[in-house]
């Protein structure tokens, strides 16, 4: 007998996500992904100074902080045809690179690991054997039996209080957990190490951008952080050295802890290389420009589209082929809800038709989410590290080929294993390692520029609105940790006339479209085995493999002229 369940809140993500699933015969037969929060930041942007937009859009998300700043600044720069100085390109690459690296490691250990790692089982581990295991997979220095015993004692003391805080009430002991106690203990140790590591390495954002989360340093036309070897108030030799040290610390942890752990854990869960594939279409905007010409052909991660898992055929990406549907989202379109709209002409009129809270279940036959359904050539697309790595791998990027090859051969699986929950999680590691290695090059190039006396960080030629055309529009893109991010802006008379963001989690988390095609989350859940309906651990595995970020996904608003809501008197 089929049974419908709701998992709400989906925890260990950013934002508010609800999954409803119909389970029959121990498998998911049908699934619905719903975002249950809405803020309306694009409406708020209307009429404001385009140079301020990045401060607002950065607040789409505090986890993948910086990414929306990047996309909206590029959109304004595209609209106004602004060329940024080379130093600004390099500083942006470093900030974005380390954002991806830090975000991926936090995702693996703090958001995703507990789907695979049973903390309680770690209490039964033999510290001696744990040390042997750790030393067999990595040269990482913290690997003695004494070290693991100390971690185990700390966890024991914590569990002994009987108050487990954030670790209470979870699925510990679930039959789907497969790691031996020693692997669990090793992972718990690294969970704690990563918690310390992340706050250290992200100081790079503070050095280059004042603080993290929400660095305050981006500018339309460049960056606000001055560089000058002869000043103590700018990026100088001291600060370059500190950034270099932190970048090395970042790379070392990724090479010696994250990647070995990823491979060790994955080797126990190879069945998940056949689960959670999803739509099989992948979109990547490409990013991390390697020179300052401004062309899309210089990206470290190339731009491209893969349809139907056909990696032999990477197609060119054309942003005009993107449209968004609201057929099953809580909005209405003036031209009817069955038709898709390109973001430049996008409309977002909230139209909540769901049940009045409190409710048990949503009406999934009608509108059921605050996320829209973006489509490329009317097809649902998966975006994220897997899409990025697949496009790079299929386009012949040497780094991607080498690392993907290493991962596949270590696990003894073929390339088809990439199209899965496990493949998605592994690709995030590949992506992280590629960027952890590349950022050091960008720092070196910045140092070289400074050495040659090139100190420009901002192009102010078109800073003043008086220099702008009366009307302009632009597309800004970025490959954020969670994938393809696009902002579309229309500027009229020096102010924002329309702003639309189509973000990674909109692509992945969106509901069904006008023709009933499921979004990537929904599609990936179909066929997933569920051992215990009361403890749907398997749903978390696949959903977390996408690294959901819902505050980002529900930005929306506004089409032109939609003065929907009354101004609240403050």
């Amino acid at each position: 007998m089929a049974r419908k369940i709701a998992v709400d809140p989906i925890t260990r993500i950013e934002g508010h996500l609800r999954i409803e699933a119909q389970i029959d015969g121990g498998q998911i037969q049908n699934a619905w992904s719903s975002s249950t929060a809405f803020r309306g930041i694009e409406t708020i942007l209307k009429g404001r100074d385009p140079r301020d937009a990045h401060h607002f859009t950065q607040r789409f998300c505090g986890v993948c902080t910086t990414v929306h700043s990047m996309a909206s600044i590029r959109a304004v720069e595209d609209a106004l045809r602004i060329q940024i100085p080379d130093n600004a390109r390099l500083i942006r690459n470093i900030i974005m690179g380390i954002q991806n690296v830090q975000d991926h490691v936090i995702h693996f250990y703090h958001l995703h690991a507990l789907d695979w790692v049973d903390i309680v089982s770690a209490l039964d581990a033999d510290p001696q054997k744990t040390a042997q295991l750790a030393q067999s997979v990595s040269d990482w220095k913290l690997s003695s039996a004494k070290y693991f015993k100390g971690i185990q004692d700390r966890v024991k003391a914590f569990v002994g209080t009987g108050r487990l805080g954030p670790f209470a009430n979870a699925y510990w002991g679930h039959s789907a957990y497969k790691l031996p106690p020693e692997a669990n203990l090793m992972a718990v140790a690294h969970y704690l190490e990563a918690l310390e590591w992340q706050k250290d390495i992200i100081k790079i954002h503070a050095i280059l951008g004042s603080k993290n989360p929400h660095p305050q340093t981006f500018l339309v036309g460049g960056m606000a952080i001055p560089v000058d070897p002869d000043s103590q108030n700018a990026i100088n030799a001291d600060k370059l050295a500190l950034i270099g040290k932190l970048l090395k610390k970042a790379r070392t942890f990724v090479e010696q802890v994250y990647i070995p752990d990823l491979l060790a854990v994955a080797s126990f869960y190879k069945d998940w290389a056949a689960i959670g594939g999803g739509v099989g279409n992948y979109l990547c905007y490409g990013d991390f420009p390697m020179d300052n010409r401004g062309g899309t052909d210089s990206h470290y991660f190339p731009r491209g589209v893969i349809m139907g898992k056909d990696i032999a055929n990477v197609m060119e990406m054309d942003e005009t082929k993107i449209s968004e549907y609201v057929t099953n989202s809580w909005y209405s379109y003036s031209g009817g809800d069955e038709k898709g709209m390109h973001p430049y002409d996008g409309e977002t009129t909230p139209n909540y038709t769901g049940p009045k809270p409190p409710y048990e279940f949503l009406d999934t036959d009608s509108k059921y989410s605050w996320v829209k359904s973006p489509r490329y050539m009317d097809q649902p697309m998966e975006v994220g590290p897997l899409a990025r790595v697949l496009v790079a791998y299929a386009s012949g990027n040497e780094d991607a080929k080498a690392i993907v090859g290493h991962v596949l051969s270590t696990l003894g699986v073929g390339a088809e294993a990439l199209f899965s929950t496990l493949g998605r999680t592994a690709a995030r590691g590949v992506d992280c390692l590629m960027l952890a290695r590349k950022t050091e090059l960008w720092l070196k190039q910045l140092t070289d520029n400074m050495d040659r006396g090139i100190l420009e960080v901002h192009n102010a030629e078109k800073w003043e609105p008086a220099t702008w055309p009366k009307e302009a529009q632009g597309f800004g893109y970025h490959e954020a940790p969670r994938g393809a991010l696009g902002h579309w802006v229309r500027i009229e008379n020096g102010a924002i006339a329309n702003f639309q963001a189509v973000v990674p989690s909109t692509w992945n988390a969106g509901p069904r479209d006008a023709s009933g095609q499921m979004g990537p989350y929904e599609s990936a859940l179909i066929g997933t085995p569920i051992a215990n309906e009361e403890q749907p651990l398997e749903i978390l595995r696949t959903i977390h493999s996408f690294d959901p970020c819902l505050a980002c996904a529900v930005h929306v608003l506004d089409g032109r002229g939609n003065e929907i809501i009354k101004v609240k008197a403050l």
Binding site: D8, I10, T11, I13, E14, H16, T36, A37, F38, R39, G40, T43, I44, R48, D49, R51, D52, F56, R59, F60, C61, G62, V63, T65, I106, L111, D153, A157, G165, P166, F167, A168, N169, A170, E196, K199, A206, L208, G209, S210, K211, N212, P213, L219, A224, I225, S231, N233, Y352, G354, P358, Y359, E360, L455, A460, L540, A551, V567, A569, L570
Partner: protein, 374 residues
């Protein structure tokens, strides 16, 4: 810490407590350093260190329910960057974080059960932390968790807590969702749950140091720190950024950066002409800084955007427009003149705020004299 100083401080904290922390893997040096830093942040006399140490004893870990509504998780992320103590220590040793969606292992109804369990078992005793604003439009459908509206959850969680800490500007004052035209009818925690005991820690995001300091204050005295008329603790929001700014001498000397990357900008001159809102903003950024004291916006060459002030998205924008020019500016102009000038210059439908009184007058904290005007 110097050796003799260490010895002196050791005398303030009982040997028993130091030994217990050592057993838990926290060295006495680190523990003393933490207590000392906390005592200083809270502006307490050093003799209070012993009491601070007693208050953060592990066995007394207070339960915490952390809920996020219309937020971006930036304040949670800031919390993960905490250093004194670190997030790991906060999670394992100082607090019992029974509900926090971003980090908790449980999901769905098991997560809900954990929250309800704490509300019931520790009614009137736990700390509620709220991140994000609360929408009132569409009958609450603009933000639901487990099918319940944010407003409903906030009343339950904050209404039954010993105290509520609103983290970030959204929870404190509505923040970005409440920026004009406030499409979802977003309100602050104080507005949503008027009867609750609420302290605001605005900032976008808040500074983790201020959160840990506030928590330790609560543990030490069993009440929240003293607040100003905007509900902000005086220890963190009592002074104007402009008055503590490391570039203040350049302002006084009339040395301004004229453009990003120009020689003045590279030499750390005043950012007033590039739009800095430091003269209008009350926050301890210049002294505490962010990410373990690494930097803060003005130090990194970008003006303050006033992110801890109510309605800053409306009153402080455009961010790159300088605060209005006033007579005598550049010598010792008072910030109240700038404030009045701002009101006159913007003159728009948004709520604007002026500064009613000047600094260096009277003995009241300046932040108490900020008034809201419709």
């Amino acid at each position: 810490m110097r050796k003799e100083e260490n010895h002196l401080q050791e005398g303030l904290v009982s040997e028993e407590i130091l030994q217990r922390w050592e057993l838990r893997g926290v060295s006495r040096r680190n523990f003393l350093k933490f207590c000392s830093a906390m005592t200083a942040t809270l502006a307490l006399p050093v003799t209070m260190m012993g009491r601070v140490a007693e208050a953060i004893e592990g066995d007394n870990r207070p339960p915490v329910i952390w809920v996020e509504f219309q937020g971006c998780t930036g304040d949670s992320e800031a919390f993960l960057r905490a250093n004194q103590p670190t997030a790991t220590e906060l999670i394992l040793d100082y607090l019992s974080i029974d509900y926090h969606e971003t980090i908790m292992a449980a999901a769905g109804h098991q997560a809900e059960a954990a929250k309800h369990g704490t509300i019931k078992e520790y009614k009137g005793k736990y700390i509620a932390i709220v991140e994000g604003s609360i929408p009132t439009g569409a009958d609450g459908a603009y933000c639901t968790i487990a099918g319940r509206s944010a407003l409903d959850i906030a009343r339950d969680v904050c209404g039954n807590a010993a105290a509520t800490i609103a983290v970030g500007t959204c929870a404190s004052y509505g923040g970005i969702p409440a920026a004009a035209p406030n499409p979802t009818g977003a309100i602050s925690v104080v507005e949503a749950v008027p009867g609750a005991t609420v302290m605001n820690l605005p900032g976008c995001p808040l500074n983790a140091e201020n959160l840990t300091a506030a928590i330790v204050h609560f543990l030490t005295f069993n009440r929240l720190p003293a607040t100003d008329s905007l509900g902000r603790p005086k220890f963190a929001y009592g002074k104007r950024i402009h008055d503590n700014c490391e570039r203040r001498s350049h302002f006084d000397a009339g040395q301004y950066a004229e453009g990003f990357g120009d020689p003045g900008h590279r030499q750390g001159w005043c950012l007033y002409k590039l739009g800095c809102k430091g003269p209008e903003t009350f926050h301890n950024c210049p002294t505490v800084r962010y990410n373990e004291g690494t930097s803060w916006p003005i130090m990194a060459g970008h003006g303050c955007i006033g992110c801890s002030e109510p309605q800053f998205w409306d009153t402080m924008t455009p961010f790159y427009r300088r605060l209005p020019q006033v007579p005598g500016f550049g010598i010792e102009a008072t910030a109240d003149k700038i404030g009045l000038g701002l009101v006159a210059a913007t003159g728009v439908a948004f709520a604007a705020h002026g500064v009613a009184s000047s600094f260096r007058k009277g003995d009241k904290l300046e932040a108490d004299q900020v008034v809201k005007e419709d």
